[in-house]
C-alpha cells in the first residue's frame, strides 16, 4: 500500500447535490477498487491560473488515500471519463499523511457556497 494524494478540479457550475453526488461517486470508485480514504477536502471554487476548457474557475477537491499502485490507474481512468472533471493530479506521498489528515474523511463537500467569496483574496 502506498500513500497518494489526488487533487481534481470540478466544473464550477456543478454545485449542491450534484457536486455531492459527483464527489461521492469518486469516493465510491476508490472504495470499490480497494483504496483506503484518509481525508477528503473541498477547497471551494478558486480562480484557475489559466482557463481550462474555456472555464476560468474551478472547484478543487483533494483526496488523500492509500492504495496499491494499480488502483491509481483505474481511478484516473474514471476521472478522465467524467466531463465535469476539468483536470486531476495524483501524486505519491513519500512520507506518511500529514497529521491534520488523521481527523478522517468527514470534512466534506457541503461548504462550497460560502467559500465562493472567501477565496477571492487569495489571488493577486
Amino acid at each position: 500500500m502506498r500513500n497518494y494524494e489526488s487533487l481534481y478540479i470540478v466544473h464550477p457550475e456543478v454545485v449542491g447535490d450534484e457536486l455531492t453526488a459527483l464527489v461521492d461517486k469518486f469516493q465510491k470508485v476508490l472504495g470499490d477498487i480497494g483504496a483506503e480514504i484518509v481525508k477528503l477536502d473541498n477547497w471551494g471554487v478558486r480562480k484557475l491560473a489559466y482557463p481550462i476548457k474555456k472555464v476560468e474557475r474551478g472547484n478543487y477537491i483533494q483526496v488523500l488515500f492509500s492504495a496499491e499502485a494499480k488502483v491509481v490507474a483505474e481511478y484516473e481512468r474514471r476521472l478522465r471519463l467524467d466531463e465535469q472533471i476539468l483536470r486531476f493530479l495524483t501524486v505519491r506521498l513519500d512520507h506518511d499523511f500529514p497529521a491534520d489528515a488523521a481527523e478522517s474523511a468527514s470534512s466534506t463537500s457541503a461548504r462550497e457556497d460560502d467559500e465562493d467569496t472567501a477565496d477571492e483574496d487569495e489571488e493577486e
Binding site: L7, A49, Y50, L86, R87, V91
Partner: protein, 90 residues
C-alpha cells in the same frame, strides 16, 4: 582590462568573477520548510514575472532544492494553481 564582463564570456574566456553576496537556499536555511506543489505563495517566489522558473544562478537555491522546486512548480501548473505564462489568453 578588468572590465566587468556582464555578457556571456568573450572568446578568451576570462576568469569568472562573482560579485555581490552569495545568496543562500531558503530551504536549506529552514529545514522544517517542505516544498509542496500546493504551497503556491512560496513557489511564486521562484517564478519570474512572466511565469518562468527562476534559474538557480539567480535564486541562489541549492541543486537539490532547485530540482524539487521545479518539480513542484510543474505539478502546480498542471493543476492550474500556477500559470505557465502570464499571457494565457482568456
Amino acid at each position: 582590462m578588468a572590465y566587468e564582463n556582464t555578457g556571456r564570456s568573450t572568446s578568451s574566456a576570462p576568469p569568472r568573477r562573482r560579485f555581490g553576496r552569495r545568496k543562500i537556499c531558503r530551504y536549506c536555511a529552514d529545514r522544517d520548510a517542505r516544498i509542496n506543489y500546493k504551497d503556491v505563495d512560496s513557489l511564486r517566489y521562484y517564478l519570474s514575472e512572466r511565469g518562468k522558473i527562476v534559474p538557480r544562478r539567480i535564486s541562489g537555491t541549492c541543486a537539490t532544492h532547485q530540482r524539487q522546486i521545479a518539480e513542484a512548480i510543474k505539478n502546480a501548473r498542471q493543476i492550474a494553481l500556477l500559470p505557465y505564462t502570464t499571457s494565457h489568453s482568456v
